[in-house]
């Protein structure tokens, strides 16, 4: 059973879903300085849940995210590196929106830091 609740706030949301051993996170809206601390804590919980449930793949869908501040990007970096420790073989897949080309550039840092466990995909 997934121990993560959706986080819905004015201007942004994160909705989790567990499907078999894939954990999906759907981000929507704007993640600026007002949401960075909450997102950071949420991603810490994601890391705990992913370990607890022995998730094989974490899919982060940012296709409806319209901005992510640099502190939020750092939180994803921390998550990526945290997942590398003790979750051997877990894949992190980031789904980006090809019409929002900043997304690919923003998340490409994750693939550069962990090229064997991070995939950046563009949705059709």
């Amino acid at each position: 059973m997934l121990g993560l609740e959706p986080m819905t706030r004015e201007g942004h949301s994160v909705v989790p879903r567990l499907d078999d051993r894939k954990l999906f996170l759907k981000l929507a809206g704007t993640f600026d300085m007002k949401s960075e601390l909450e997102l950071h804590h949420y991603l810490q919980q994601v890391q705990i849940e992913a370990r607890k449930l022995s998730v094989l793949e974490l899919v982060i869908d940012v296709t409806e995210a319209y901005y992510l501040g640099s502190t939020c990007i750092k939180s994803f970096v921390t998550l990526t590196l945290g997942l590398q420790n003790g979750t051997a073989g877990m894949l992190l897949r980031v789904l980006t929106n090809p019409r929002l080309d900043w997304q690919g550039r923003a998340f490409s840092i994750l693939a550069r830091l962990a090229p064997n466990s991070v995939i950046i995909d563009k949705t059709a």
């Binding site: 201007g11 704007t30 300085m33 901005y67 640099s70 990007i73 750092k74």
Partner: protein, 172 residues
């Protein structure tokens, strides 16, 4: 304040002075992105300046010591075509000013902004309370050129990016 200029006729710019609070962030960014959308028809430029507006305004909210800051977005013409220029002005502490200037001087000289940003990310992992990635991200992800000026306790940060001449034609 951002230094006053004597604009030629038809110069296109917007200047905003505001008290630096996080509540005004979205409104400031909207003004900048609307300006860019009306000046050039290029989504990449719009997103680059959206990023710059967020990061620079957040810096002013976090580090300004004065009750007033300002931001100016404008179009400059050169022999190469158009440039969009975004400038911010704020006062800050001597320590923050020295830190910002050191970051900016480094960024203005790096030849590989992506490699430099990756190094900033690695360094940031040992700084739990700050990301210190914002300025580096403007060059690496925004493709923006940075420059700065210091006067007493004031810092002016300027970012700019060229737009294709064929993008011109819409009025803000």
């Amino acid at each position: 304040m951002i230094p006053a200029q004597s604009p030629p006729r038809h110069q296109r710019y917007v200047v905003i002075e505001f008290a630096p609070t996080s509540g005004c962030l979205g409104s400031i960014v909207s003004v900048v992105t609307d300006f860019c959308r009306n000046v050039v028809d290029d989504q990449r430029i719009k997103y680059a300046f959206q990023l710059a507006a967020y990061e620079l305004t957040e810096n002013m909210v976090n580090y300004s010591t004065g009750g007033l800051v300002s931001l100016r977005v404008e179009v400059e013409r050169s022999l190469q075509g158009l440039e969009i220029v975004l400038s911010t002005w704020n006062e800050t502490t001597p320590e923050r000013l020295a830190d910002a200037v050191a970051q900016l001087e480094t960024l203005e000289q790096v030849t590989d902004p992506t490699a430099h940003f990756d190094e900033l990310v690695r360094q940031s992992l040992v700084e739990p309370n700050e990301s210190r990635l914002g300025l580096g991200r403007l060059r690496a992800a925004g493709g923006l050129a940075l420059s700065h000026q210091v006067a007493d306790s004031s810092l002016v940060v300027q970012v700019r990016r060229s737009a294709r001449a064929s993008d011109e034609g819409r009025n803000p």
